[in-house]
């Protein structure tokens, strides 16, 4: 098909008289077809495999992080409990002062310690 015929086909395609469904067929007969290069499907599949691998690695990293967090959190909680027990044993109370290590100090002696007077 020569270019004046192609131009006519393009014009006619929009005039509403021609059946839209037949236009791509006419273009293909004129040698106007569109496709991707060879190996397109393989490239898409390779990209998808790469994406899946990234997702798997990402999931593995997240689960390792979760595991590490739980271990750290449990160790921390155990340390706090041991500290509280030792404070209770030493100070015989759970008051704020006992937590600060001031359980057996008088207020005046604290003032003396802080001001030196």
């Amino acid at each position: 098909m020569k270019s004046p015929e192609i131009k006519k086909l393009m014009r006619d395609s929009l005039d509403g008289k021609s059946d839209a469904g037949n236009i791509p067929g006419s273009l293909e007969l004129a040698g106007i077809s569109y496709d991707f290069n060879e190996g397109f499907t393989e490239k898409v599949m390779r990209r998808l495999s790469g994406a899946s691998l990234t997702i798997v690695r990402d999931t593995e990293f997240k689960s390792s992080l979760n595991f590490a967090f739980y271990r750290i959190a449990l160790t921390g909680a155990a340390a706090i409990i041991i500290l509280m027990i030792s404070i209770f044993i030493m100070q015989d109370s759970f008051s704020f002062n006992s937590f600060l290590g001031l359980g057996d100090s008088y207020d005046e002696s604290i003032v003396y310690l802080l001001t030196g007077n």
Binding site: S3, I6, K7, G31, F36, L48
Partner: protein, 185 residues
């Protein structure tokens, strides 16, 4: 490739792809690659970037398959992804050219791949490509849908998710613009 997938319906292919069957998905790619090529290359021209966008269409499709409810046909769903990615690429190019060049065009003729077809076919393809590339992207999509995909105005409205009136008005403006362009070519 499994022979059964070549004869399988779209629903079956989608289901198998969701179950992780890569062969089923590669059959979807084979089945719709030409349709996507017509949209992407018709809108962006026969450039190396069109290949990348084409791949992106199917990667996006794969990732969005779990959300595909089957309300629309698979071809319509793929077409929507292709149109969205192509329009995004056109916008990106416009921004790029407006920053770095006074050309302000989304034509990529310098990247065109040599066509092995004979002279007459090459010339005919060039006329179609040049005419499409000279159209405003808003009208180009309407022309491409009809000329390259054979969709009616109603189907185009459905795929583009636009009111029929809007598509009809763009259609008539595209017709005027195309007539002017073809006279100059």
């Amino acid at each position: 490739m499994k022979e059964s997938f070549k004869l399988a319906g779209d629903d079956e292919l989608v289901k198998a792809s969701l179950d992780g069957d890569k062969l089923a998905f590669s059959e979807i790619v084979n089945r719709y690659r030409k349709m996507v090529a017509r949209t992407v290359k018709g809108m962006l021209g026969d450039s190396v970037y069109s290949e990348d966008i084409g791949q992106e269409v199917f990667v996006n499709l794969y990732n969005s398959l779990p959300g595909f409810r089957g309300e629309a046909k698979l071809s319509t769903y793929i077409q929507r992804i292709a149109i969205n990615l192509t329009l995004n690429e056109i916008k990106r190019r416009k921004r790029f050219f407006s920053m770095f060049s006074h050309k302000g065009s989304d034509e990529m003729s310098e990247y065109e791949i040599a066509d092995p077809e004979n002279e007459e076919k090459r010339e005919a393809k060039e006329v179609v490509n040049k005419a499409l590339m000279s159209l405003n992207p808003k009208f180009r999509i309407i022309v491409a849908m009809r000329l390259l995909q054979g969709y009616s105005t109603k189907e185009t409205a459905e795929i583009l998710d636009l009111p029929l009136g809007t598509v009809l008005s763009r259609h008539s403006r595209a017709q005027e613009q195309l007539k002017e362009i073809l006279e100059k070519l």
